[in-house]
């Protein structure tokens, strides 16, 4: 059993070197986020006025920000915030979007309403939708999660709708209908399991977008509020202090880019592995 599981992973790692590198970055991000309190050398919110804007050195490995807070520790704790926001929002979006997509495919009368509503959401860039939700609900971590979930719901609904439309034409679904199973049982036990793989890939492709949008919202001051250590919020300080101390700009952005890059190449690799026809095309 274990072997059966490990062999394809080994082959994937040989054939998709870049994706494997991405997986390593993603893993590092997960570990950092989960074990932040154990990994951070200092308290991320400890203010030390005398260390203000201190460049990288022995005591502050990646330097200190304008309040003399340790940038490395803030990046490590920032991973935790990003991990929480992105997994919660993408999870919520997947739950709602997949349900809507399957529902719209199965109940024809609901198709026009649900899918047109999704079209409305898709007529705006993600950041605009997110800002609109913030205008309605207010700032704060929970509202950022809801905002990003609403941004990404149409992506899941569209994908799922298409997949479910073809899945429900299969003979085994027909058999289940003939066997008198309830709609709920058919959708959750026959349709959903057969369209799950591309949805999982979609999740890995949308997480970087969620991380980026959350950081963007915090950067413009409408997302995670200070003093919480968050990468976008850390970069907001650069607008004021960046010219005096480039290190406060460089490191949080680098962390953000590496994580997003990791998810992107991993997602690409997974998609290629699932659909060999696309190999190396995109």
């Amino acid at each position: 059993m274990r072997r059966r599981f490990l062999v394809p992973i080994g082959r994937f790692m040989r054939e998709h070197r870049l994706a494997t590198f991405g997986a390593v970055l993603v893993l590092a991000f997960l570990v950092t986020g989960i074990f932040a309190p154990l990994l951070a050398p200092q308290d991320p919110n400890k203010i030390n006025v005398r260390a203000s804007l201190r460049p990288p050195g022995a005591e502050y490995l990646l330097g200190a920000d304008n309040n003399g807070r340790d940038i490395l520790s803030r990046i490590i704790y920032g991973a935790r915030v990003s991990l929480y926001i992105s997994s919660a929002s993408v999870g919520l979006a997947a739950l709602v979007g997949v349900s809507l997509g399957i529902f719209a495919a199965w109940y024809r009368w609901s198709r026009a309403i649900i899918m047109r509503l999704m079209d409305v959401l898709l007529a705006f860039p993600g950041i605009v939708i997110a800002l609109t939700i913030i205008a309605i609900l207010g700032r704060g971590v929970e509202n950022v999660i809801i905002a990003i979930a609403i941004v990404q719901t149409p992506q899941f609904a569209r994908l799922t709708h298409g997949l479910a439309l073809s899945a429900q034409e299969q003979t085994y679904v027909e058999a289940a209908v003939a066997g008198g199973e309830s709609d709920l049982a058919i959708l959750t036990r026959y349709v959903l399991p057969n369209i799950l793989a591309p949805i999982v890939v979609q999740i890995s492709l949308l997480i970087p977008g969620a991380i980026m949008t959350a950081a963007g919202l915090s950067f413009i001051g409408l997302g995670v509020q200070p003093p919480t250590a968050e990468w976008g919020a850390m970069l907001q300080l650069s607008l004021t202090w960046g010219r005096l101390a480039p290190h406060i700009t460089i490191f949080p952005g680098l962390a953000l880019m590496l994580v997003v890059f990791g998810f992107n190449v991993l997602g690409d690799g997974l998609r290629d592995a699932m659909d060999p026809r696309l190999q190396g095309r995109s």
Binding site: V120, A123, V128, G221, P246, G253, L256
Partner: protein
Amino acid sequence: MARYIFGRILMGIPILFLVITAVFFAFRMIPGDAARIIAGDEAPQERVEQIRRDLGLDRPAIVQYGSYLANLFRGDLGTSFSSRRPVALELSERYWNTFSLALAAITLATILGVGMGVISAVFRGQPADHIVTILALLGISIPVFWLGLLMMQLFSVNLGLLPAAGYGTWRHFVMPTITLSVFSIAFITRMTRSSLLETIQQDYVRTARAKGVRERFVLLLHSLRNALLPVTIIVGLRFGYMVGGAVITEEVFAWPGLGRLLILAVAQRDIPLVQGLLLVFAASFVLVNLLVDIFYAFLDPRIRYR
């Protein structure tokens, strides 16, 4: 062709109408006393009442919706809470700033994106392809605001070559244009590459090769023309998004455009202004899509007769 264009214009109207309706009712979903929340906890009671009257929150929702539509038809988008000026005026003052930036960015993105995509596809599997592929991956992964901040540090602070912020001369355009276009450059590069690789496998390309057409001409005349069809759609889509999506770029470079206005409006919960901005963004998006569809039908006769 005229019938097709007319049909497409008709198709755009319901989407706009849906957007107007959705935007209107979304702001009626503010939990609790909307007027109090918009005014803030410390605002005096008369300010709350004034907002309630301004927004018409004391009337039934359907009546509010009717008068909102009627006003909209007359070009009246309401009055901004924070500036007390007509929303339509606020928008028209800034529209050109954002539009010109988006236009510059999409031009740059199309030239570089298509160019790099073609190079990548032509030299498939060779070092040039790998370099372009990695660059494109970095392009979709780099946070726009970080890129903006880094460029500002290098070109404004260290080298003193370009103004760090503001609007005016062509020099003000350089960094915001690059920042806004990077994601699209990468996106268009990837699309062009995959689209070109797909058309190379088509029958008509094989026929051209079999006829003995030179490889360079096969690529340029037979493959590229067809491969660029889906790319025009992506270019249009990206441009439609840029008008609204310049939010972060505008914030980094203090660009006096619609995106920055949106941030301001959201921070102050200036609902009429947010609504007006959303309408402008949606209208731009629908309009750009319409133009792209017409352009596409012009390029590809198969579409017109579907």
